[in-house]
C-alpha cells in the first residue's frame, strides 16, 4: 500500500513549485512539435523513457539511501548533475528540489534531510522525493512510481493550460501509459542498490535542446513556465 507521503508528493496540489515547470513542453508547443493529445502522448512517452527513467532511478536510490547508515548524497547529486547536460534542466530540477525541501522540512522533519542538504543546499528534485518517501517508511518502488508519474503529469498539465486540450482526454492518455510507467519503475528499482555511478543514464538530446532554447526565448520574448 502506498504511503501517504507518496500520494502527497505526487499530488498536483503539493506546494513544491512543480506547477511552474512544463518539462520542455512549452518550448515544444511553441515550435509546433506538440499540437494535440496524439503528439502529446508521443512527447510524454519519450520523456518518460529518458528523463523519467533517470529521475525514477535516482528517486529509488535516494529512498534506499534515506535508510542507510552512510548515505552517499554527494555522489548521487553529482551523478544526477552528470546525467543532466542542460544547465536549464539542472536549474529546474534544483528549483523544484528547493521547493520540495521547504515543504518537506515542515511535513517530514528528519536528520536525513539535513544530511541531504549538507551535500548541496538545493538538492535535485528526485533526491528529495526519494528521501521523503524513505523518511516516511516507503520503499524504492513508491519513490520511482511517484517520480515517473510526475515526469509525465507535469508536462501533461502544462499542455492542458497552453493548448486548451480536453483534460479528460489528456488524463486518459496518461493512464494509457501505465505499461511503460511500470517498465520504467521496474528498471529504476532494479538499479536502486547500485553505486551512484552505475545508475541508468539514458540521454534525451532533444529535451536538453528544448530546455536551453526555452530559457533563451524567455529572455527574448516570453515563456509562461520556468522550464
Amino acid at each position: 500500500m502506498p504511503s501517504l507521503a507518496t500520494l502527497v508528493l505526487s499530488d498536483a496540489r503539493f506546494p513544491g513549485g512543480g506547477h511552474v515547470h512544463s518539462g520542455g513542453l512549452e518550448e515544444a508547443v511553441a515550435r509546433a512539435l506538440v499540437t494535440g493529445v496524439g503528439d502529446l502522448g508521443t512527447f510524454l512517452h519519450g520523456r518518460l523513457r529518458t528523463a523519467g527513467l533517470v529521475a525514477a532511478s535516482f528517486a529509488a536510490a535516494a529512498a534506499v539511501a534515506a535508510g542507510s547508515a552512510e548515505p552517499c548524497w554527494a555522489a548521487l547529486d553529482a551523478e544526477l548533475d552528470a546525467r543532466t547536460p542542460s544547465a536549464a534542466q539542472r536549474d529546474a530540477s534544483r528549483a523544484q528540489g528547493r521547493g520540495t525541501l521547504r515543504a518537506a522540512r515542515a511535513s517530514w522533519p528528519s536528520p536525513v534531510l539535513d544530511a541531504l542538504v549538507a551535500a548541496h543546499p538545493r538538492p535535485h528534485h528526485p533526491l528529495l522525493v526519494g528521501a521523503v518517501v524513505g523518511i516516511a517508511g516507503g520503499d524504492p518502488v513508491e519513490a520511482a512510481q511517484c517520480v515517473a508519474y510526475l515526469a509525465v503529469s507535469g508536462p501533461a498539465s502544462a499542455a492542458v493550460r497552453l493548448l486548451g486540450l480536453d483534460p479528460i482526454a489528456v488524463n486518459a492518455a496518461i493512464v494509457a501509459m501505465a505499461p511503460t510507467v511500470d517498465e520504467v519503475v521496474a528498471l529504476a528499482v532494479a538499479a536502486a542498490d547500485r553505486a551512484p555511478a552505475d545508475l541508468p543514464a539514458p540521454g534525451a538530446p532533444m529535451l536538453d535542446l528544448l530546455a536551453q532554447s526555452h530559457v533563451r526565448h524567455h529572455r527574448e520574448q516570453v515563456r509562461l513556465f520556468a522550464s
Binding site: 496540489r13 503539493f14 506546494p15 513544491g16 513549485g17 512543480g18 506547477h19 511552474v20 515547470h21 512544463s22 554527494a74 555522489a75 547529486d77 553529482a78 551523478e79 548533475d81 547536460p85 544547465a87 536549464a88 539542472r90 536549474d91 534544483r94 528549483a95 528547493r98 521547493g99 521547504r102 515543504a103 551535500a119 538545493r122 502544462a158 493550460r161 497552453l162 536551453q212 524567455h218 516570453v222 515563456r223 509562461l224 513556465f225 520556468a226
Partner: protein, 237 residues
Amino acid sequence: MRPEDHVGHGHGHLVTFDPTETEPDHHDTPPTHGRAVRIGIGGPVGSGKTALVAALARSLADRVRLAVVTNDIYTTEDADFLRRNAVLPPDRVEAVQTGCCPHTAIRDDITANLDAVETLEERFGDLDLVLVESGGDNLTAVFSRGLVDRQIFVVDVAGGDKVPRKGGPGVTTADLLVINKIDLAALVGADLGVMTSDAHRMRGELPVIAQSLVHDPGATDVGEWVLAQVGAVRAAA
C-alpha cells in the same frame, strides 16, 4: 557555478564545460536583521497594480530599503517597465513565471514567489520591504498568508462601479482596498460614491483608499499605509 560551492564533493565538479551554466544568484549576503516585511498587491488585469508599485517605489525609495517581485502573465513586462522607468535598479526587481496560473503562484503553491523573495533578501541582506505584485487575475485571487504579511487589492473605476459590490475574497478580505483611476470616473460613467460606499459595506472596518495617480503620482495615502504596516509587522515580530 562557483567552484568553491563544490569543494569537498570529490566528484569532479571543479571543472565545468558548460558556458551557459548558471547559478541562480551570485549575491550571497546573509540577512543582517529579520526578514523584510512582505506586502502583496493584487487585483484584476489593468487595474493599475504596476503603476501603483512604480509610484510606491518612487515615493518610498528614500524611506525604506525596497525590492519588488512581479508575477505578470508576461513575466518580464512589468519587470521591464519598472526597470525602464528607472524606478528601481534592475537587480531589485525579480520576475516570476507562473505557468499560466497567476492565482496558484500567490496562493496554492507559493514556492516560486518565496524563492524570488528569499533571493532578494539574500542579495541585499538589509531589506525593509518586498512588494509582491501578482499577475492580473479575477476577484477571487488572494495572497497566501504564507507569502505576504499584508495585502492590497487594487480595482479601478474603469472596470465598472459594480466591482466592489460583487465582492470576492480580494475585495472583502484584503488588508487595504484601493479604488484606482478616480480621475476617469466621470469619463466612464462610474459613480465613485456608490463604489466607496459598497466597498465599505462589503469590508466592514477594513480600510479603503480612492486615488488617482494622475492627481497624486506618489500614491501618498497608500504609501503612508504601507509604511505603517512595515512598522506594525516589525513591531509584532
